[in-house]
Symmetry: C3
Subunit: 258 residues, 3 copies
Amino acid sequence: MMEDLIHHITFNQDDPNLRCIVLYGEGKVFSAGHNLKELTHKDGSDYHHQVFSTCSRLMLGILQCPVPVIAVVQGLAAAAGCQLVATCDIAVCSDTSTFSTPGANFGIFCSTPGVAVGRAVPRKVAAHMLFTGIPLTAEEAIGAGLVSKVVPEESMGLEFESLSGGHIFQIYVNPSPVFPTDEEVAKIVQAITCKSRAIVAMGKKFFYQQLEADIKTAYRLGEEVMVNNIGLADGQEGIRSFIEKRKANWSHGFEKAH
Amino acid sequence: MMEDLIHHITFNQDDPNLRCIVLYGEGKVFSAGHNLKELTHKDGSDYHHQVFSTCSRLMLGILQCPVPVIAVVQGLAAAAGCQLVATCDIAVCSDTSTFSTPGANFGIFCSTPGVAVGRAVPRKVAAHMLFTGIPLTAEEAIGAGLVSKVVPEESMGLEFESLSGGHIFQIYVNPSPVFPTDEEVAKIVQAITCKSRAIVAMGKKFFYQQLEADIKTAYRLGEEVMVNNIGLADGQEGIRSFIEKRKANWSHGFEKAH
Amino acid sequence: MMEDLIHHITFNQDDPNLRCIVLYGEGKVFSAGHNLKELTHKDGSDYHHQVFSTCSRLMLGILQCPVPVIAVVQGLAAAAGCQLVATCDIAVCSDTSTFSTPGANFGIFCSTPGVAVGRAVPRKVAAHMLFTGIPLTAEEAIGAGLVSKVVPEESMGLEFESLSGGHIFQIYVNPSPVFPTDEEVAKIVQAITCKSRAIVAMGKKFFYQQLEADIKTAYRLGEEVMVNNIGLADGQEGIRSFIEKRKANWSHGFEKAH
């Protein structure tokens, strides 16, 4: 399943028509995390290493993916499933969703989920989740910053029935986009796909890079990024479209302005 | 008082029956921080060094303590008292509690409290507290992530009367636990004590370690921690109990699985 | 405009009567950020470098300014204007204010605003702002920690009309202070100006320094700062005023206690 997600997130990420990726979970569980039955002693520590190394590759792959990755949660996101939500760039959940890191209840502390959750929410919220295993409600999750938006469950119901299957749903702009009917998700997807792919990719890469730098270094690097951005054809086209009060006509690529 | 707290937090932290520590403040003040009368010039800077070095040892001791440390606040937590709340893994407060870092009003900026508060809440909240000295209400404190839960003051009243004394209350599982009657605190303590002590200790140590690493290092270290955790007897017992749908029978120690 | 702001923030920051700086934006827009018309290709990348280097100097200048800098927002704060709010020590906004980083809509991703915004709010909030360009309401902004307080717009209206002009308003204690009439802003300014300038300056410098250090280093440095603070004349005067239950009589300088 993780390999499948990695495949979907990476295999066509250079397709210029891919503008953002939306991860859905079907049914009442977004993702319950690792299958504990795969983690028994008899499988050996080499296999366990492989499982968690794959999991890290998935999470870092989301951060490195050139298009924004959006989690749409309806129901339970637990352990590595909660890590997945915490890792995505943006997350929208139904008002009945819950989020937990209950691994220690089953002897496996959610240490790697804590890497993502501890960077997404205040540390007291993360510690409460990790040490008690008690879930956050959707309301608590948005208060803590774990999700970006909460929507009524009703607005999501139709959507899930109409999806043909799978946990992943990639948004292409061409051929014709299949926008999810949930209004909030559609608004986010619309806001992303109307921008230049290259500009968003450049911005996403720098965003996660600078968060780990000290602020002076972040600004020094950021000045370079801004100047490079302005020098791109899509940078200049964006400015011209603003001045001329018209819709921009993006190349979506990294070509320099003449 | 700080030495007394350090003593209580460290002296029997290796007792296998100790599963979590709850810090209470009796009466209307959780803790008002340092006694300013001890910080006059005549005491000399060696003494001042000792006071703040002891204070740092207490705070780092809480983070290094193998069992979760929970602050239960009823009333005012100010200056180093607010630092104590910010440092504990989990904090529950009554809805009439307040939190402040007013040191600069008395000429002593709350610089060391800011180390803990600045890591617990958004920096604009911390800066407002530190530069103005104006207190946060309980509602503002939970919104900012300074506390984990807010409970009605009434639910705490009984509790404090029934406690025999002291600012510290350690939770042992054996002999019979004296659970605080406040429902939220009891729920948290219950959730922690039903887990393996060793698994929680391993998870807590890594949680604070990885928060200070870059995310790639955090995941690399986290993979090791997960694999080691799975290899423990309590890791395997947890998985088996999950598969067999029964209560786990923990050793609470770090023995490896056979 | 940025040079003008830098000038106002730096030129008399050593004036002992300057106790805090309040940045206002007149009218319905606090600041809409850079003028895109200045960023066209024909201006050349040297000029673009200069623009963003000046912008970073402004932001770092606010953090290095010895007195607290307060943003008072009425209306829109966008792009570098939102960065300015995120950078100020404290921010108060009207309940109709909005905050956005919409640069990518015009081909220029808000990479440098993201340095400040990404350190002020949870990363999912920042990512949503940066990738979609959709604004935060005042209510969302306080929930995320981007502003310190929200006040009714009515309480601000009078204020802006009565201000004679300019985007910056510096608070001096002598000659007679012109306190803004908004109650929340006045409360903050009052709380800052009643403290010792030197003590606040020392605390502000350490606050931003320690946030970028690991926690052990932060405490080690913090112990030194506390001991130095206690050794100042204003530190001792503060303690004495507390003990003697009287108003402190600050020197506002860094003289050592005798």
